[in-house]
Symmetry: D2
Subunit: 162 residues, 4 copies
Protein backbone atom coordinates (compact mmCIF):
# COMPACT_ATOMS: atom_id res chain seq x y z
CA UNK A 1 0.00 0.00 0.00
CA UNK A 2 1.26 3.44 -0.94
CA UNK A 3 -0.22 6.64 0.43
CA UNK A 4 -0.20 9.57 -1.95
CA UNK A 5 0.52 12.93 -0.31
CA UNK A 6 -0.34 16.11 -2.20
CA UNK A 7 1.16 19.31 -0.84
CA UNK A 8 -0.66 22.59 -1.49
CA UNK A 9 1.07 24.90 1.01
CA UNK A 10 -0.70 26.46 3.98
CA UNK A 11 0.64 27.28 7.41
CA UNK A 12 2.26 23.81 7.55
CA UNK A 13 5.03 24.90 5.24
CA UNK A 14 5.43 28.58 6.05
CA UNK A 15 8.91 29.83 6.85
CA UNK A 16 10.34 32.99 8.33
CA UNK A 17 12.35 35.20 5.99
CA UNK A 18 15.40 36.41 7.88
CA UNK A 19 15.90 39.40 5.63
CA UNK A 20 12.47 40.99 5.57
CA UNK A 21 10.79 39.41 8.59
CA UNK A 22 7.88 38.04 6.59
CA UNK A 23 6.49 34.55 6.26
CA UNK A 24 6.97 32.82 2.94
CA UNK A 25 6.98 29.45 1.21
CA UNK A 26 10.09 27.63 0.07
CA UNK A 27 10.05 23.82 0.01
CA UNK A 28 7.66 21.53 1.79
CA UNK A 29 8.73 20.12 5.15
CA UNK A 30 6.74 16.91 4.69
CA UNK A 31 9.74 14.63 4.08
CA UNK A 32 11.47 16.03 7.18
CA UNK A 33 8.30 15.61 9.24
CA UNK A 34 7.84 11.99 8.15
CA UNK A 35 11.45 11.35 9.08
CA UNK A 36 10.99 12.96 12.50
CA UNK A 37 7.94 10.76 13.09
CA UNK A 38 10.06 7.72 12.11
CA UNK A 39 7.24 7.01 9.66
CA UNK A 40 7.69 3.67 7.87
CA UNK A 41 4.68 3.93 5.56
CA UNK A 42 5.20 4.03 1.83
CA UNK A 43 4.36 7.64 1.13
CA UNK A 44 4.78 9.37 -2.19
CA UNK A 45 4.88 13.16 -1.93
CA UNK A 46 4.05 15.54 -4.76
CA UNK A 47 3.84 19.32 -4.42
CA UNK A 48 0.92 20.72 -6.43
CA UNK A 49 1.25 24.33 -5.31
CA UNK A 50 2.67 26.34 -2.42
CA UNK A 51 0.07 28.92 -1.50
CA UNK A 52 -1.99 30.34 1.33
CA UNK A 53 -5.42 28.76 1.23
CA UNK A 54 -6.97 32.24 1.48
CA UNK A 55 -5.62 32.95 -1.99
CA UNK A 56 -6.66 29.61 -3.47
CA UNK A 57 -8.83 29.99 -6.57
CA UNK A 58 -11.39 27.76 -8.25
CA UNK A 59 -8.81 26.78 -10.80
CA UNK A 60 -6.37 25.80 -8.04
CA UNK A 61 -9.09 23.55 -6.61
CA UNK A 62 -9.61 22.16 -10.08
CA UNK A 63 -5.92 21.21 -10.21
CA UNK A 64 -6.19 19.46 -6.83
CA UNK A 65 -9.33 17.65 -7.86
CA UNK A 66 -7.82 16.44 -11.14
CA UNK A 67 -4.73 15.16 -9.38
CA UNK A 68 -6.83 13.26 -6.87
CA UNK A 69 -8.87 11.70 -9.67
CA UNK A 70 -5.84 10.72 -11.74
CA UNK A 71 -3.86 9.31 -8.80
CA UNK A 72 -3.54 5.54 -8.98
CA UNK A 73 -3.50 5.36 -5.14
CA UNK A 74 -6.84 5.23 -3.36
CA UNK A 75 -5.55 6.64 -0.06
CA UNK A 76 -4.66 10.30 -0.41
CA UNK A 77 -3.54 12.90 2.11
CA UNK A 78 -3.64 16.60 1.20
CA UNK A 79 -1.84 19.28 3.22
CA UNK A 80 -3.77 22.51 2.95
CA UNK A 81 -4.14 25.92 4.61
CA UNK A 82 -6.91 25.89 7.21
CA UNK A 83 -8.80 29.01 6.08
CA UNK A 84 -10.47 27.39 3.08
CA UNK A 85 -9.81 23.72 3.80
CA UNK A 86 -13.54 23.09 4.20
CA UNK A 87 -14.22 24.65 0.77
CA UNK A 88 -11.73 22.42 -0.99
CA UNK A 89 -13.18 19.41 0.85
CA UNK A 90 -16.60 20.32 -0.55
CA UNK A 91 -15.29 20.55 -4.10
CA UNK A 92 -13.67 17.13 -3.72
CA UNK A 93 -16.68 15.65 -1.88
CA UNK A 94 -18.95 16.30 -4.81
CA UNK A 95 -16.63 14.67 -7.34
CA UNK A 96 -14.59 11.94 -5.71
CA UNK A 97 -16.46 8.88 -4.51
CA UNK A 98 -14.09 5.95 -4.65
CA UNK A 99 -11.07 7.13 -2.69
CA UNK A 100 -10.25 7.98 0.91
CA UNK A 101 -8.99 11.55 0.93
CA UNK A 102 -7.94 13.30 4.16
CA UNK A 103 -7.11 16.99 4.26
CA UNK A 104 -5.00 18.31 7.11
CA UNK A 105 -2.96 21.36 8.00
CA UNK A 106 -1.57 23.31 10.90
CA UNK A 107 -2.37 26.36 12.96
CA UNK A 108 1.31 27.05 13.62
CA UNK A 109 4.08 26.59 11.01
CA UNK A 110 6.17 23.45 11.41
CA UNK A 111 9.38 25.48 11.55
CA UNK A 112 8.17 27.14 14.75
CA UNK A 113 8.82 25.42 18.04
CA UNK A 114 5.19 24.99 19.04
CA UNK A 115 3.58 23.61 15.89
CA UNK A 116 0.62 21.28 15.91
CA UNK A 117 1.76 20.01 12.50
CA UNK A 118 3.41 16.76 13.56
CA UNK A 119 0.39 15.76 15.64
CA UNK A 120 -1.97 16.50 12.75
CA UNK A 121 0.18 14.63 10.25
CA UNK A 122 0.23 11.52 12.46
CA UNK A 123 -3.54 11.62 12.91
CA UNK A 124 -4.24 12.24 9.21
CA UNK A 125 -2.04 9.33 8.13
CA UNK A 126 -3.88 7.04 10.54
CA UNK A 127 -7.32 8.20 9.40
CA UNK A 128 -6.45 7.76 5.72
CA UNK A 129 -5.48 4.15 6.37
CA UNK A 130 -8.62 3.21 8.26
CA UNK A 131 -11.56 5.25 6.99
CA UNK A 132 -13.82 4.10 4.13
CA UNK A 133 -13.96 5.99 0.83
CA UNK A 134 -14.92 9.61 1.29
CA UNK A 135 -13.49 13.09 1.79
CA UNK A 136 -12.46 14.07 5.32
CA UNK A 137 -10.80 16.86 7.27
CA UNK A 138 -8.50 15.82 10.11
CA UNK A 139 -7.74 18.60 12.59
CA UNK A 140 -7.49 18.87 16.39
CA UNK A 141 -7.32 15.07 16.70
CA UNK A 142 -10.78 14.77 15.18
CA UNK A 143 -12.04 13.68 11.81
CA UNK A 144 -14.88 15.46 9.99
CA UNK A 145 -16.84 14.48 6.91
CA UNK A 146 -16.60 17.03 4.06
CA UNK A 147 -20.33 17.76 4.22
CA UNK A 148 -20.43 18.60 7.91
CA UNK A 149 -17.43 20.75 8.84
CA UNK A 150 -16.43 24.37 9.09
CA UNK A 151 -13.59 26.36 10.59
CA UNK A 152 -14.76 28.57 13.41
CA UNK A 153 -13.14 31.91 12.57
CA UNK A 154 -13.31 33.11 16.19
CA UNK A 155 -11.65 30.13 17.83
CA UNK A 156 -9.60 28.84 14.92
CA UNK A 157 -10.94 25.34 15.59
CA UNK A 158 -12.78 23.01 13.26
CA UNK A 159 -16.28 21.91 14.25
CA UNK A 160 -19.33 20.15 12.95
CA UNK A 161 -21.89 22.46 11.34
CA UNK A 162 -24.81 20.99 13.24
CA UNK B 1 -17.30 9.97 23.28
CA UNK B 2 -14.46 10.01 25.78
CA UNK B 3 -11.08 8.43 25.12
CA UNK B 4 -9.36 6.96 28.16
CA UNK B 5 -5.58 7.43 28.21
CA UNK B 6 -3.49 5.28 30.56
CA UNK B 7 0.08 6.42 31.11
CA UNK B 8 2.68 3.80 32.05
CA UNK B 9 5.93 5.72 31.43
CA UNK B 10 8.41 4.76 28.74
CA UNK B 11 10.63 7.01 26.67
CA UNK B 12 7.65 9.30 26.01
CA UNK B 13 7.91 10.80 29.45
CA UNK B 14 11.62 10.62 30.18
CA UNK B 15 13.32 13.78 31.34
CA UNK B 16 16.92 14.87 31.76
CA UNK B 17 18.13 15.38 35.31
CA UNK B 18 20.25 18.54 35.34
CA UNK B 19 22.12 17.56 38.49
CA UNK B 20 23.29 14.04 37.69
CA UNK B 21 22.92 13.92 33.91
CA UNK B 22 20.65 10.88 33.97
CA UNK B 23 17.23 10.31 32.49
CA UNK B 24 14.35 9.98 34.90
CA UNK B 25 10.56 10.15 35.21
CA UNK B 26 8.67 13.00 36.82
CA UNK B 27 5.17 13.82 35.55
CA UNK B 28 3.62 12.76 32.28
CA UNK B 29 3.78 15.19 29.35
CA UNK B 30 0.52 13.95 27.86
CA UNK B 31 -1.60 17.00 28.81
CA UNK B 32 1.06 19.32 27.36
CA UNK B 33 1.27 17.24 24.19
CA UNK B 34 -2.50 17.25 23.69
CA UNK B 35 -2.46 21.02 24.14
CA UNK B 36 0.36 21.41 21.60
CA UNK B 37 -1.62 19.33 19.12
CA UNK B 38 -4.64 21.57 19.77
CA UNK B 39 -6.48 18.33 20.46
CA UNK B 40 -10.20 18.87 21.00
CA UNK B 41 -11.11 15.28 21.82
CA UNK B 42 -12.51 14.44 25.24
CA UNK B 43 -9.54 12.62 26.72
CA UNK B 44 -9.28 11.47 30.30
CA UNK B 45 -5.71 10.80 31.42
CA UNK B 46 -4.74 8.53 34.30
CA UNK B 47 -1.17 7.62 35.23
CA UNK B 48 -0.91 3.95 36.23
CA UNK B 49 2.86 3.84 36.66
CA UNK B 50 5.97 5.67 35.47
CA UNK B 51 8.50 3.03 34.54
CA UNK B 52 10.80 1.81 31.79
CA UNK B 53 9.07 -0.98 29.94
CA UNK B 54 12.22 -3.09 30.30
CA UNK B 55 11.57 -3.21 34.03
CA UNK B 56 7.86 -3.92 33.71
CA UNK B 57 6.81 -7.07 35.60
CA UNK B 58 3.91 -9.48 35.23
CA UNK B 59 2.15 -7.78 38.10
CA UNK B 60 2.55 -4.38 36.38
CA UNK B 61 0.88 -5.88 33.33
CA UNK B 62 -1.83 -7.23 35.57
CA UNK B 63 -2.49 -3.69 36.84
CA UNK B 64 -2.73 -2.38 33.27
CA UNK B 65 -5.03 -5.21 32.24
CA UNK B 66 -7.36 -4.68 35.20
CA UNK B 67 -7.58 -0.97 34.53
CA UNK B 68 -8.45 -1.60 30.90
CA UNK B 69 -11.14 -4.08 31.92
CA UNK B 70 -12.65 -1.82 34.55
CA UNK B 71 -12.62 1.32 32.38
CA UNK B 72 -16.10 2.40 31.36
CA UNK B 73 -14.72 3.80 28.08
CA UNK B 74 -14.35 1.41 25.16
CA UNK B 75 -11.64 3.41 23.38
CA UNK B 76 -8.38 3.26 25.29
CA UNK B 77 -4.91 4.58 24.52
CA UNK B 78 -1.91 3.35 26.51
CA UNK B 79 1.47 5.09 26.46
CA UNK B 80 4.18 2.50 27.00
CA UNK B 81 7.91 1.99 26.62
CA UNK B 82 8.75 0.37 23.30
CA UNK B 83 11.01 -2.43 24.55
CA UNK B 84 8.21 -4.65 25.87
CA UNK B 85 5.18 -2.98 24.26
CA UNK B 86 4.51 -6.09 22.19
CA UNK B 87 4.51 -8.25 25.35
CA UNK B 88 1.93 -6.08 27.09
CA UNK B 89 -0.17 -6.09 23.92
CA UNK B 90 -0.15 -9.91 24.02
CA UNK B 91 -1.29 -9.99 27.65
CA UNK B 92 -4.13 -7.62 26.80
CA UNK B 93 -4.95 -9.37 23.53
CA UNK B 94 -5.70 -12.62 25.30
CA UNK B 95 -8.05 -11.01 27.81
CA UNK B 96 -9.73 -7.97 26.32
CA UNK B 97 -12.17 -8.59 23.49
CA UNK B 98 -14.73 -5.80 23.57
CA UNK B 99 -12.65 -2.64 23.55
CA UNK B 100 -10.37 -0.84 21.12
CA UNK B 101 -6.99 -0.48 22.83
CA UNK B 102 -4.03 1.20 21.12
CA UNK B 103 -0.55 1.15 22.65
CA UNK B 104 1.93 3.77 21.54
CA UNK B 105 5.22 5.26 22.67
CA UNK B 106 8.27 7.10 21.45
CA UNK B 107 11.82 6.39 20.43
CA UNK B 108 12.98 9.82 21.60
CA UNK B 109 11.71 11.54 24.77
CA UNK B 110 9.16 14.28 24.20
CA UNK B 111 11.29 16.82 26.05
CA UNK B 112 14.02 16.43 23.42
CA UNK B 113 13.82 18.54 20.32
CA UNK B 114 13.56 15.68 17.87
CA UNK B 115 10.94 13.43 19.41
CA UNK B 116 8.60 11.26 17.40
CA UNK B 117 6.14 11.41 20.31
CA UNK B 118 3.71 14.01 18.95
CA UNK B 119 3.44 12.20 15.63
CA UNK B 120 2.77 8.88 17.38
CA UNK B 121 0.21 10.40 19.72
CA UNK B 122 -1.73 11.89 16.81
CA UNK B 123 -1.71 8.60 14.94
CA UNK B 124 -2.71 6.54 17.99
CA UNK B 125 -5.65 8.83 18.78
CA UNK B 126 -6.88 8.49 15.21
CA UNK B 127 -6.53 4.70 15.19
CA UNK B 128 -8.35 4.31 18.50
CA UNK B 129 -11.31 6.23 17.09
CA UNK B 130 -11.62 4.23 13.90
CA UNK B 131 -10.48 0.66 14.49
CA UNK B 132 -12.83 -2.13 15.59
CA UNK B 133 -12.45 -3.80 18.99
CA UNK B 134 -9.03 -5.33 19.46
CA UNK B 135 -5.56 -4.66 20.83
CA UNK B 136 -3.17 -2.72 18.58
CA UNK B 137 0.26 -1.15 18.56
CA UNK B 138 0.62 2.16 16.74
CA UNK B 139 4.23 3.07 15.90
CA UNK B 140 6.03 4.56 12.88
CA UNK B 141 2.70 5.68 11.38
CA UNK B 142 1.57 2.07 11.15
CA UNK B 143 -0.88 -0.01 13.13
CA UNK B 144 -0.20 -3.62 14.11
CA UNK B 145 -2.47 -6.24 15.60
CA UNK B 146 -1.29 -7.58 18.99
CA UNK B 147 -0.81 -11.09 17.60
CA UNK B 148 1.45 -10.10 14.72
CA UNK B 149 3.97 -7.53 15.89
CA UNK B 150 7.46 -7.32 17.32
CA UNK B 151 10.07 -4.66 17.90
CA UNK B 152 13.13 -5.27 15.80
CA UNK B 153 15.96 -4.82 18.30
CA UNK B 154 18.50 -4.03 15.57
CA UNK B 155 16.58 -1.26 13.82
CA UNK B 156 14.36 -0.10 16.69
CA UNK B 157 11.34 -0.31 14.37
CA UNK B 158 8.15 -2.26 14.81
CA UNK B 159 7.30 -4.86 12.18
CA UNK B 160 4.97 -7.71 11.44
CA UNK B 161 6.24 -11.12 12.56
CA UNK B 162 5.45 -12.79 9.26
CA UNK C 1 25.92 44.50 40.37
CA UNK C 2 22.56 44.72 38.63
CA UNK C 3 22.18 44.76 34.85
CA UNK C 4 19.30 46.84 33.55
CA UNK C 5 17.51 45.34 30.54
CA UNK C 6 15.26 47.57 28.45
CA UNK C 7 12.92 45.78 26.03
CA UNK C 8 11.80 47.64 22.90
CA UNK C 9 10.39 44.76 20.82
CA UNK C 10 11.94 43.65 17.54
CA UNK C 11 12.09 40.17 16.06
CA UNK C 12 13.25 38.84 19.46
CA UNK C 13 9.74 39.03 20.83
CA UNK C 14 7.57 38.39 17.78
CA UNK C 15 4.91 35.72 18.04
CA UNK C 16 2.71 33.92 15.56
CA UNK C 17 -1.00 34.68 15.71
CA UNK C 18 -2.88 31.40 15.32
CA UNK C 19 -6.05 33.09 14.13
CA UNK C 20 -4.82 35.34 11.36
CA UNK C 21 -1.39 33.89 10.59
CA UNK C 22 0.44 37.15 11.20
CA UNK C 23 3.32 38.01 13.46
CA UNK C 24 2.57 40.21 16.44
CA UNK C 25 3.87 41.32 19.83
CA UNK C 26 2.45 40.18 23.15
CA UNK C 27 4.79 39.97 26.14
CA UNK C 28 8.54 39.89 26.13
CA UNK C 29 10.24 36.49 26.28
CA UNK C 30 13.28 37.85 28.11
CA UNK C 31 12.44 36.32 31.53
CA UNK C 32 11.88 32.92 29.89
CA UNK C 33 15.14 33.23 27.93
CA UNK C 34 17.16 34.11 31.02
CA UNK C 35 15.63 31.12 32.78
CA UNK C 36 16.48 28.83 29.85
CA UNK C 37 20.07 30.09 29.96
CA UNK C 38 20.12 29.35 33.71
CA UNK C 39 21.28 32.95 34.04
CA UNK C 40 22.24 33.85 37.60
CA UNK C 41 23.00 37.53 37.04
CA UNK C 42 20.90 40.15 38.76
CA UNK C 43 18.92 41.46 35.83
CA UNK C 44 16.08 43.95 36.07
CA UNK C 45 13.82 43.93 33.01
CA UNK C 46 11.60 46.85 31.96
CA UNK C 47 9.58 46.95 28.75
CA UNK C 48 9.70 50.43 27.18
CA UNK C 49 7.77 49.59 24.01
CA UNK C 50 6.94 46.58 21.84
CA UNK C 51 7.46 47.64 18.24
CA UNK C 52 9.20 46.79 15.02
CA UNK C 53 12.34 48.85 14.76
CA UNK C 54 11.33 49.85 11.22
CA UNK C 55 8.44 51.80 12.73
CA UNK C 56 10.52 53.36 15.50
CA UNK C 57 10.29 57.16 15.53
CA UNK C 58 12.55 59.91 16.84
CA UNK C 59 10.33 60.26 19.86
CA UNK C 60 10.60 56.51 20.57
CA UNK C 61 14.37 56.91 20.51
CA UNK C 62 14.01 59.88 22.84
CA UNK C 63 12.15 57.64 25.29
CA UNK C 64 14.90 55.02 25.13
CA UNK C 65 17.58 57.64 25.58
CA UNK C 66 15.89 59.20 28.60
CA UNK C 67 15.44 55.83 30.24
CA UNK C 68 19.10 55.02 29.74
CA UNK C 69 20.11 58.36 31.21
CA UNK C 70 17.83 58.07 34.22
CA UNK C 71 18.73 54.44 35.01
CA UNK C 72 20.75 54.12 38.18
CA UNK C 73 22.57 51.08 36.73
CA UNK C 74 25.62 51.70 34.55
CA UNK C 75 25.40 48.40 32.66
CA UNK C 76 22.43 48.41 30.31
CA UNK C 77 21.24 45.91 27.71
CA UNK C 78 18.63 46.94 25.14
CA UNK C 79 16.72 44.44 22.99
CA UNK C 80 15.88 46.06 19.69
CA UNK C 81 14.79 45.22 16.15
CA UNK C 82 17.75 44.87 13.84
CA UNK C 83 16.58 47.12 11.01
CA UNK C 84 17.29 50.42 12.79
CA UNK C 85 19.44 49.19 15.66
CA UNK C 86 22.41 51.10 14.30
CA UNK C 87 20.37 54.33 14.22
CA UNK C 88 19.31 54.04 17.84
CA UNK C 89 22.91 53.26 18.78
CA UNK C 90 23.97 56.54 17.12
CA UNK C 91 21.37 58.55 19.03
CA UNK C 92 22.59 57.01 22.27
CA UNK C 93 26.25 57.29 21.32
CA UNK C 94 26.04 61.07 21.00
CA UNK C 95 24.39 61.52 24.41
CA UNK C 96 25.46 58.76 26.79
CA UNK C 97 29.10 58.77 27.84
CA UNK C 98 29.30 57.23 31.29
CA UNK C 99 27.49 53.91 30.89
CA UNK C 100 28.06 50.63 29.07
CA UNK C 101 25.07 50.09 26.80
CA UNK C 102 24.78 47.02 24.55
CA UNK C 103 22.01 46.69 21.98
CA UNK C 104 21.13 43.25 20.69
CA UNK C 105 18.33 41.49 18.85
CA UNK C 106 17.55 38.50 16.72
CA UNK C 107 17.11 37.60 13.08
CA UNK C 108 14.59 34.87 13.93
CA UNK C 109 11.90 35.18 16.63
CA UNK C 110 12.67 33.39 19.88
CA UNK C 111 9.41 31.43 19.69
CA UNK C 112 10.62 29.76 16.48
CA UNK C 113 12.74 26.68 16.73
CA UNK C 114 15.79 28.08 15.01
CA UNK C 115 16.27 31.45 16.69
CA UNK C 116 19.63 33.11 17.19
CA UNK C 117 18.13 34.99 20.14
CA UNK C 118 19.54 32.91 23.00
CA UNK C 119 23.05 33.06 21.54
CA UNK C 120 22.82 36.83 21.11
CA UNK C 121 21.45 37.34 24.61
CA UNK C 122 24.31 35.35 26.12
CA UNK C 123 26.90 37.33 24.17
CA UNK C 124 25.30 40.71 24.93
CA UNK C 125 25.18 39.99 28.67
CA UNK C 126 28.86 39.07 28.62
CA UNK C 127 29.86 42.16 26.63
CA UNK C 128 27.90 44.51 28.91
CA UNK C 129 29.78 43.13 31.93
CA UNK C 130 33.25 43.52 30.46
CA UNK C 131 33.34 46.47 28.06
CA UNK C 132 34.21 50.02 29.14
CA UNK C 133 31.65 52.83 28.99
CA UNK C 134 30.24 53.32 25.52
CA UNK C 135 27.42 52.31 23.21
CA UNK C 136 27.75 48.96 21.41
CA UNK C 137 25.85 46.59 19.15
CA UNK C 138 26.29 42.88 19.80
CA UNK C 139 25.19 40.66 16.92
CA UNK C 140 26.59 37.52 15.22
CA UNK C 141 28.95 36.90 18.15
CA UNK C 142 30.70 40.20 17.47
CA UNK C 143 30.65 43.56 19.18
CA UNK C 144 30.59 46.86 17.26
CA UNK C 145 31.06 50.42 18.46
CA UNK C 146 28.07 52.69 17.77
CA UNK C 147 30.09 54.90 15.43
CA UNK C 148 31.30 52.12 13.16
CA UNK C 149 28.47 49.70 12.44
CA UNK C 150 25.71 49.13 9.93
CA UNK C 151 23.33 46.36 9.04
CA UNK C 152 24.00 45.01 5.58
CA UNK C 153 20.53 44.91 4.03
CA UNK C 154 21.56 42.27 1.48
CA UNK C 155 23.04 39.73 3.89
CA UNK C 156 21.17 40.68 7.05
CA UNK C 157 24.50 40.72 8.92
CA UNK C 158 26.07 43.53 10.91
CA UNK C 159 29.44 44.82 9.78
CA UNK C 160 31.92 47.60 10.34
CA UNK C 161 31.43 50.59 8.03
CA UNK C 162 35.10 50.79 7.11
CA UNK D 1 41.51 37.51 14.87
CA UNK D 2 40.78 33.80 15.08
CA UNK D 3 39.26 32.13 18.14
CA UNK D 4 40.43 28.59 18.80
CA UNK D 5 37.73 26.25 20.08
CA UNK D 6 38.74 22.99 21.73
CA UNK D 7 35.98 20.43 22.21
CA UNK D 8 36.32 17.91 25.05
CA UNK D 9 32.76 16.56 25.27
CA UNK D 10 30.51 17.06 28.27
CA UNK D 11 26.76 17.48 28.39
CA UNK D 12 27.00 20.00 25.52
CA UNK D 13 27.48 17.24 23.02
CA UNK D 14 25.51 14.36 24.50
CA UNK D 15 22.97 12.65 22.29
CA UNK D 16 20.16 10.19 22.86
CA UNK D 17 20.64 6.69 21.51
CA UNK D 18 17.36 5.59 19.96
CA UNK D 19 18.17 1.91 20.24
CA UNK D 20 19.21 1.56 23.87
CA UNK D 21 17.82 4.74 25.42
CA UNK D 22 21.18 5.88 26.76
CA UNK D 23 23.09 9.11 26.30
CA UNK D 24 26.24 8.95 24.24
CA UNK D 25 28.74 11.02 22.27
CA UNK D 26 28.96 11.13 18.50
CA UNK D 27 30.13 14.33 16.83
CA UNK D 28 30.32 17.78 18.33
CA UNK D 29 27.41 20.14 17.71
CA UNK D 30 29.61 23.24 17.86
CA UNK D 31 29.53 23.99 14.10
CA UNK D 32 25.72 23.68 14.09
CA UNK D 33 25.44 25.90 17.17
CA UNK D 34 27.65 28.61 15.67
CA UNK D 35 25.51 28.50 12.54
CA UNK D 36 22.30 28.78 14.56
CA UNK D 37 23.74 31.81 16.36
CA UNK D 38 24.60 33.32 12.95
CA UNK D 39 28.10 33.67 14.38
CA UNK D 40 30.44 35.58 12.07
CA UNK D 41 33.60 35.24 14.13
CA UNK D 42 36.55 33.34 12.72
CA UNK D 43 36.42 30.23 14.85
CA UNK D 44 38.59 27.17 14.38
CA UNK D 45 37.18 24.05 16.03
CA UNK D 46 39.25 21.02 17.03
CA UNK D 47 37.92 18.03 18.96
CA UNK D 48 40.45 16.83 21.53
CA UNK D 49 38.27 14.18 23.15
CA UNK D 50 34.59 13.34 23.62
CA UNK D 51 34.14 12.34 27.22
CA UNK D 52 32.18 13.01 30.38
CA UNK D 53 34.17 15.32 32.58
CA UNK D 54 33.57 12.95 35.51
CA UNK D 55 35.77 10.41 33.74
CA UNK D 56 38.46 12.91 32.75
CA UNK D 57 41.93 11.84 33.94
CA UNK D 58 45.12 13.75 34.70
CA UNK D 59 46.51 12.68 31.36
CA UNK D 60 43.39 14.01 29.58
CA UNK D 61 43.99 17.36 31.29
CA UNK D 62 47.61 17.16 30.20
CA UNK D 63 46.43 16.79 26.59
CA UNK D 64 44.18 19.84 26.95
CA UNK D 65 46.94 21.87 28.56
CA UNK D 66 49.45 21.00 25.85
CA UNK D 67 47.01 21.93 23.11
CA UNK D 68 46.32 25.28 24.75
CA UNK D 69 50.05 25.95 25.06
CA UNK D 70 50.82 24.97 21.49
CA UNK D 71 47.90 26.88 19.94
CA UNK D 72 49.02 29.89 17.95
CA UNK D 73 45.80 31.73 18.88
CA UNK D 74 45.72 33.62 22.16
CA UNK D 75 41.92 33.50 22.55
CA UNK D 76 40.77 29.99 23.33
CA UNK D 77 37.36 28.56 24.20
CA UNK D 78 37.07 25.06 25.67
CA UNK D 79 33.79 23.14 25.85
CA UNK D 80 33.87 20.86 28.88
CA UNK D 81 31.60 18.84 31.14
CA UNK D 82 30.56 20.83 34.18
CA UNK D 83 31.38 18.27 36.88
CA UNK D 84 35.15 18.80 36.78
CA UNK D 85 35.34 22.03 34.79
CA UNK D 86 36.76 23.85 37.81
CA UNK D 87 39.52 21.22 38.17
CA UNK D 88 40.63 21.58 34.56
CA UNK D 89 40.57 25.37 34.97
CA UNK D 90 42.95 25.02 37.94
CA UNK D 91 45.38 22.85 35.96
CA UNK D 92 45.38 25.43 33.17
CA UNK D 93 45.52 28.38 35.57
CA UNK D 94 48.81 27.23 37.04
CA UNK D 95 50.47 26.80 33.64
CA UNK D 96 49.01 29.21 31.12
CA UNK D 97 49.68 32.91 31.69
CA UNK D 98 49.68 34.62 28.33
CA UNK D 99 46.37 33.56 26.79
CA UNK D 100 42.69 34.18 27.43
CA UNK D 101 41.07 30.80 27.95
CA UNK D 102 37.34 30.44 28.68
CA UNK D 103 35.79 27.11 29.64
CA UNK D 104 32.08 26.63 29.17
CA UNK D 105 29.54 23.84 29.00
CA UNK D 106 25.90 23.06 29.45
CA UNK D 107 23.56 21.62 32.05
CA UNK D 108 21.23 20.23 29.38
CA UNK D 109 22.43 18.63 26.11
CA UNK D 110 22.15 20.85 23.03
CA UNK D 111 20.06 18.26 21.22
CA UNK D 112 17.33 18.63 23.85
CA UNK D 113 14.77 21.35 23.43
CA UNK D 114 15.57 23.21 26.61
CA UNK D 115 19.35 23.47 26.53
CA UNK D 116 21.30 26.34 28.02
CA UNK D 117 24.10 25.57 25.58
CA UNK D 118 23.47 28.30 23.01
CA UNK D 119 23.26 30.96 25.72
CA UNK D 120 26.51 29.76 27.29
CA UNK D 121 28.29 29.60 23.95
CA UNK D 122 27.30 33.18 23.14
CA UNK D 123 28.49 34.41 26.52
CA UNK D 124 31.77 32.47 26.40
CA UNK D 125 32.62 33.81 22.94
CA UNK D 126 32.01 37.36 24.15
CA UNK D 127 34.12 36.88 27.31
CA UNK D 128 37.02 35.38 25.38
CA UNK D 129 37.13 38.44 23.13
CA UNK D 130 37.12 41.01 25.91
CA UNK D 131 38.85 39.59 29.00
CA UNK D 132 42.58 39.97 29.67
CA UNK D 133 44.89 36.95 29.71
CA UNK D 134 43.84 34.37 32.25
CA UNK D 135 41.80 31.22 32.72
CA UNK D 136 38.04 31.64 33.21
CA UNK D 137 34.85 29.66 33.54
CA UNK D 138 31.74 31.11 31.88
CA UNK D 139 28.47 29.63 33.12
CA UNK D 140 25.03 31.00 34.06
CA UNK D 141 25.81 34.30 32.32
CA UNK D 142 28.68 34.93 34.72
CA UNK D 143 32.43 34.72 34.42
CA UNK D 144 34.65 33.28 37.15
CA UNK D 145 38.41 33.32 37.57
CA UNK D 146 40.01 29.84 37.72
CA UNK D 147 41.24 30.40 41.29
CA UNK D 148 37.83 31.34 42.74
CA UNK D 149 35.14 29.05 41.36
CA UNK D 150 33.43 25.79 42.18
CA UNK D 151 30.36 23.92 41.02
CA UNK D 152 27.78 23.66 43.77
CA UNK D 153 26.83 19.98 43.64
CA UNK D 154 23.45 20.61 45.28
CA UNK D 155 22.22 23.37 42.98
CA UNK D 156 24.22 22.55 39.85
CA UNK D 157 25.26 26.22 39.65
CA UNK D 158 28.73 27.71 39.56
CA UNK D 159 29.68 30.11 42.34
CA UNK D 160 32.63 31.92 43.83
CA UNK D 161 34.39 30.04 46.61
CA UNK D 162 34.45 33.02 48.96
Amino acid sequence: MTIRIFVTGGTFDKEYDELNGELFFKDTHLPEMLKLGRCKLNADIRTLMMIDSSSMTDSDREIISENVERAKEDKILITHGTDTMAETAKVLGKKIKDKTVVLTGAIIPYTFGSSDGLFNLGAALAFVQTLPSGIYISMNGKCFSWDNVRKNKQTGKFEEIE
